[in-house]
């Protein structure tokens, strides 16, 4: 009774599993072939001892009593040699299959990551890094495991049964049939075990398992809440019931197999008895008894080969399915379309402009931004405000070419972003979004990442401007402290400031920033704000703003709603308009004045 892997949807016909590995193996692809060859040899050689036994017994029975020692030992030593050779072939096959497995595991990760790291930035939006890591890990592990351990068995699952059948046909087909009858009955029983009633039980069991498993996650996750509200007993009760329910279901399911499995086992043990009866049926008198007996012995010895091979092939099939599915998932992940590469390495100035830009996220039916047009002159700051989902974050990301727009154009330095060479675009645009993190290297290396030939002076200046000086002081090795080692981790807000130092050092003329980065650290929000200001000083800046006090000094504010610009102007101009911005400003004022207080009077201004 095997656990069945959850079925995957029908896909376009995939090439044979082994062929799918070939592109990853490089020069080592012959190892696959060698392993198969050697394991085939192993299977064939493994049949020889049986043949030798048969010949030896025949001879024995013919001479009966007058045994020629050399005659006998000739067969015996041949059998031994064949077996040793078979083992050596198997060993060699294993070596090659392991080497193949190692190679595929490594190549999958190399190729996979190389492609991923060059994907458009929008790719990382839709795919969580944890999930990607799991897919990569799984594919590496499963394929290694399948190739290293299963590959040498593949040949045997075909060759062994075939050679046994051949032998049977050549030696005595009547006895052979007697042997095959229980095998066939065994197959039929196996196949028929899954009746509709059995299937129903299986579904019930799988559902109960699923329900219990997901409840166990909910239970653990919910414990802090239910404890706080004094209801842990009830949540426990619910889980308790599902545990008992599962027990009932799995028991009921298991019981459905009781008769079939007993029948199957009985049938598989019946081979010898069938042979005995068949031998008696084909009994032709005591003269040919010797031949009969030697055939009988041979077939009796061959019988177990069928069941062991059947077990092996079932196991193989399961693992093959898993390896195939895992490869499918990997290919699915990499299926994301790549972006066209621009060629221009010169831009005219440091302006940033959007012209009638419309963009819809893949998988959505409403545009995130519609026909947006504006221009930021070199050195100016434009702030985007609006409710979440209004499109401001999308605009900033489109400026960095996370995706390509559906219509209109994004012009960086007067050149369409699609035509700018990627390196040039990245050299000229800095973006500071919320997902910034530091890497496992020294603080100094983190800060100089991407900037070649930075002077010590420039680095120190970046540290000061990003308000990171106190962070450096607090660490014993200062800038040379390696992040992630010995538990040296910085808080979210501290990481943001170091990341800002990196951007300050890079000194790109165009800056895209999301003000939300400041909220990583409510205590030191004011420090991060200072750093953000230093970063955008004198640069062409597009800022996504959340707190309205940061937009007061912007050259222009764009108020967005449902993907469109609804108001445009400086802070004073917009207040005068008494429109959406003015409302937002009034609301913002109340949050500034808010205080926690135990007095009964109204708190809002």
């Amino acid at each position: 009774m095997t656990q069945q892997a959850k079925g995957s949807p029908k896909k376009a016909k995939q090439p044979a599993l082994l062929k799918r590995f070939v592109p990853f193996m490089g020069e080592k692809r012959f190892f696959l072939f060698l392993s198969l060859l050697l394991s085939s040899l192993h299977a064939l050689l493994g049949m020889l001892p049986f043949l030798m036994v048969w010949l030896l017994v025949r001879q024995l029975l013919q001479t009966l009593g007058q045994v020629q020692l050399e005659g006998l030992t000739k067969y015996a030593w041949l059998a031994f040699a064949a077996q040793v050779l078979a083992i050596l072939c198997y060993f060699a096959a294993l070596l090659f299959s392991h080497l193949a497995g190692f190679r595929v595991e490594v190549a999958l990760q190399k190729k996979g990551m190389e492609r991923i790291i060059n994907k458009p930035l929008g790719f990382f939006d839709t795919n969580l890094s944890g999930r990607m890591r799991k897919i990569i890990n799984d594919s590496a592990g499963s394929t290694h495991s399948f190739l290293a351990h299963q590959l040498p068995d593949m040949a045997a699952t075909v060759i062994t049964p075939l050679s046994v059948l051949l032998l049977i046909a050549l030696v005595d087909w009547r006895l052979g049939i007697a042997l095959l009858i229980p095998i066939l009955m065994g197959f039929i029983t196996m196949g028929g075990m899954m009746t509709t009633a059995g299937k129903a039980f299986q579904d019930q069991y799988l559902n109960a398992l699923e329900a219990m498993s997901s409840e166990s996650v909910e239970y653990v996750r919910g414990i802090p809440v239910v404890k706080t509200f004094g209801q842990s007993v009830f949540s426990f009760k619910r889980f308790y019931n599902l545990i008992l329910n599962y027990k009932e279901m799995v028991y009921a399911y298991t019981i459905t197999w009781r008769h079939p499995m007993s029948a199957y086992t009985m049938i598989m043990q019946a081979g010898g008895l069938f042979l005995v009866v068949a031998s008696l049926l084909t009994w032709e008198g005591s003269d040919s008894a010797g031949i009969l007996l030697s055939n009988f012995i041979l077939f009796l010895m061959l019988a177990p080969l069928f069941s062991t091979t059947m077990m092996k092939s079932m196991y193989l099939y399961q693992n093959k399915m898993i390896a195939g599915q895992v490869l499918d998932r990997m290919e699915g992940l990499l299926d994301y379309p790549d972006m066209s590469r621009g060629k221009q390495t010169q831009i005219d100035d440091t302006s940033l402009a959007f012209q009638y830009v419309t963009f819809t996220y893949p998988g959505s039916d409403t545009p995130a931004v519609s026909s947006v047009s504006f221009r930021i002159n070199p050195g100016e700051t434009i702030a985007l405000v609006g409710a979440s989902g209004s499109g401001k974050t999308t605009l900033a990301r489109l400026a960095a070419r996370f995706w390509d727009v559906d219509s209109g154009q994004v012009l960086v330095g007067g050149v369409n972003v699609k035509n700018i060479a990627k390196e040039t675009l990245m050299d000229n645009v800095s973006f500071v979004f919320q997902t910034t993190r530091l890497m496992k290297m020294s603080l100094r290396d983190n800060i100089t990442f991407g900037t070649t030939n930075a002077t010590e002076e420039a680095i120190q200046r970046a540290v000061d401007l990003s308000q990171s000086r106190e962070i450096i002081y607090s660490l014993p090795q200062g800038l040379d402290t390696i992040i992630g080692s010995r538990g040296t981790y910085l808080s979210g807000g501290e990481q943001q400031r170091i990341a800002l130092a990196r951007s300050i050092l890079k000194d790109a003329p165009i800056v895209l920033l999301d003000e939300a980065t400041a909220f990583a650290d409510p205590e030191n929000e004011h420090l991060i704000r200072k750093a953000l200001k230093a970063l955008s000083q004198g640069k062409t800046t597009l800022m996504i703003a959340h707190r309205l006090n940061s937009v007061v000094d912007a050259d222009q504010i764009l108020v967005m709603d449902k993907g469109r610009i609804v108001e445009k102007g400086s802070h004073e101009q917009l207040l005068q308009k008494q429109g959406m911005y003015a409302d937002m400003w009034a609301e913002y004022q109340t949050t500034i004045d808010w205080k926690v207080s135990s007095s009964k009077k109204e708190v809002s201004a």
């Binding site: 493994g46 001892p49 036994v53 017994v57 029975l61 009966l64 006998l72 030593w77 031994f80 077996q83 294993l94 392991h98 190692f102 490594v106 990760q109 990551m113 790291i117 890094s129 890591r133 166990s216 996650v217 239970y219 653990v220 919910g222 802090p224 404890k227 706080t228 004094g230 009830f234 426990f236 308790y240 799995v250 298991t254 197999w257 009781r258 043990q269 019946a270 008895l273 010797g290 007996l293 012995i297 009796l300 010895m301 177990p304 062991t308 990245m426 990442f449 991407g450 890079k506 939300a516 650290d521 959340h546 109340t590 949050t591 500034i592 207080s597 135990s598 009964k600 708190v603 809002s604």
Partner: protein, 575 residues
């Protein structure tokens, strides 16, 4: 035997008894498989007799054989039927008991455990462990023990039959077992080393995935790729140096067993030629040699599958031994003052998180805890609700020592609004109703309104009846916070523990959340962890916590005049 099983596998007495039974039935099953072979050997001897002229006819007719076969097959069927019942089914009882025990234990762990991410992973691992253990006990464990017993019995029988041929038959078994076990042990050692290298590669991949934006923005893709490739090449070479040989040898052990067949041939043939053994004996050993190695091989692989069993059982034991919090289930607090007296506390042994902390949060007042991050303010708030047990000192609520009170009873007096909000896959209404289990719809809706939930709920497809989905993925941070506040309002507990950062989770709806919080804290004892100094200028008392100690304490006015830490923080933040 029962006690041995009980201890080794952390089972209940009934569980051990059932396992014992299943082992012996499996032994019987294996022995029943010998019956057909015995018939075959009987037949062989019979034929030899006729063939060598010692007898005229076969002793049994074909019908006798058919009859015996049917009897044997029926016997096999019955024994199998019973064996199946004893192995594959009893385990589920035991499993259910284990899961229930685990669930109970988890329920009684201190609240603090659940704040750490590790515990969520640990719990899912533990649940997965019970699944794996269940599988292993229903399939592998009885088979391993039964195999060992049956093989020993067989060995004894064969040795009694003819010790020389038995030697030829069985010499491969200890050799194969030795090869298997020693390479297994070696592989485990190598595996730990490989694990670290593999982990390093995997972490580097994770880093690439997490930092793809930065890498691309700094034009560092080529560098990253070449560094990764170098690591992967080193990994492949390491595997070739260490795992290659061992992996191959491990898989080989089983194949070694089959050398027994030719050995019996050689040995038997020689002995036969020297007249030291008769033909019948030789043939019997040949037959046995073709059948005995595959069950031994299966036993070895079953044995291998058990290798992780020990680890899993150990994990479960650890879980069951974790410290639980218990206490009185009633309390009569005289008022709701929270008092800390000389409290020492540390998360880990080498770090002193709080030292000699003494403070009072008076009933009906707003007490704000401020200070640098990591200084201890959120720890203090959590200790007030017995998230952990302290090392030294005393914490009282209304005069009662909280360490003596059952956590769930104590928590009846607290409403907690922190940044992490756990939501369930039920309707919005029911999620809020968690605040007070028996609240009617009216009460729930009233609390929701005060918490400013109406604004976003009316936009949901089914309003308050809309199901939230797993952990409320579709809701924004600000919407989750408002549900959390609604729960707290519904609960109407006398003490509020609040993290001020919850307000700034959603800048757009900040004012709404602030309104909800203001409503919540009316006339209650409030302990608030504050980050923005301007919000607490109206508090009744400010306590500055730094480096695990109380640095300053007083009203906002007093502290501003003092021009100490609080005053400088206020100034810095208003710049």
């Amino acid at each position: 035997m029962n006690r041995f099983l009980q201890n080794r596998y952390a089972m209940t007495p009934e569980g051990a008894r059932d396992l014992n039974k299943s082992i012996w039935w499996t032994v019987l099953q294996f022995l029943s498989f010998m019956l057909p072979i015995m018939v075959c050997t009987f037949f062989t001897r019979d034929v030899l007799r006729v063939f060598s002229g010692k007898a005229q006819n076969l002793s049994w007719s074909i019908w006798a054989y058919v009859g015996i076969s049917l009897v044997i097959l029926t016997l096999i069927y019955i024994i199998n039927y019973i064996q199946y019942g004893s192995t594959y089914t009893r385990i589920y009882d035991e499993s259910a008991k284990t899961r229930i025990r685990l669930a109970e234990t988890l329920r009684q762990l201190p609240l603090s455990f659940f704040g750490q991410k590790d515990i969520a992973d640990l719990s899912s691992t533990i649940m997965e462990d019970t699944n794996q253990i269940e599988n292993l006990f229903s399939h592998n464990v009885p088979h391993v023990y039964a195999s060992i017993i049956s093989i020993l019995l067989m060995a004894v029988m064969m040795f009694l039959f003819d010790w020389r041929l038995a030697l030829a038959l069985f010499w491969v078994v200890p050799v194969a077992a030795l090869v298997f076990l020693s390479s297994s042990r070696y592989q485990k050692k190598v595996h730990t080393d490989v694990y670290h290298i593999k982990r390093d590669v995997s972490d580097f991949i994770q880093e690439g995935l997490d930092n793809a934006q930065v890498i691309q923005s700094c034009n560092e893709e080529k560098n990253y790729t070449s560094r990764l490739n170098a690591k992967l090449d080193a990994y492949e070479n390491y595997l070739i140096r260490t795992e290659l040989l061992i992996g191959a040898v491990l898989n080989l052990a089983n194949a070694l067993l089959y050398l027994g067949v030719p050995t019996v041939l050689i040995c038997g043939g020689t002995l036969l030629a020297q007249g030291q053994v008769d033909l019948f004996t030789f043939l019997v050993f040949l037959l046995v040699s073709s059948r005995i190695y595959s069950p031994i091989s299966e036993a070895l692989s079953n044995f291998a599958a058990l290798k992780y069993l020990g680890v899993r059982i150990e994990r479960m034991r650890e879980m069951n031994n974790m410290p639980r919090q218990t206490g009185k289930e009633t309390m009569q607090p005289k008022g709701y003052d929270i008092v800390f007296k000389d409290v020492d506390f540390s998360y880990q042994d080498d770090m002193q998180t709080l030292q000699r902390v003494s403070l009072t949060a008076k009933q009906g007042e707003v007490t704000a805890l401020v200070g640098p991050s990591g200084g201890g303010k959120s720890t203090i708030a959590k200790l007030a609700a017995r998230f952990w047990d302290i090392d030294r000192g005393r914490i009282t609520l209304g005069g009662e020592d909280i360490s003596q009170i059952d956590p769930e009873t104590l928590l009846q007096n607290f409403a907690i609004v922190f940044q992490d909000v756990t939501l369930f896959d039920m309707s919005v209404l029911d999620n809020i109703r968690i605040g007070k289990k028996d609240a009617n719809d009216e009460e729930v809706l009233h609390a929701a309104k005060l918490a400013q939930c109406d604004a976003f709920v009316k936009r949901l497809p089914q309003g308050y009846q809309t199901p939230i989905g797993e952990n409320g993925e579709r809701l924004s941070g600000g919407e989750r916070q408002r549900i959390s506040i609604a729960r707290a309002l519904l609960k109407d507990a006398p003490v509020i523990l609040l993290d001020e950062a919850t307000a700034s989770v959603d800048t757009q709806n900040e004012s709404k959340i602030q309104q909800g919080i203001s409503e919540l804290i009316k006339n209650k004892t409030v302990l608030i962890i504050a980050h923005r100094m301007r919000t607490v200028l109206g508090a009744d008392k400010i306590i500055v916590v730094a480096d695990g100690k109380i640095a300053e304490s007083g009203t906002p006015k007093e502290l501003l005049k003092q021009k100490g830490r609080f005053a400088s923080m206020v100034e810095a933040q208003s710049a």
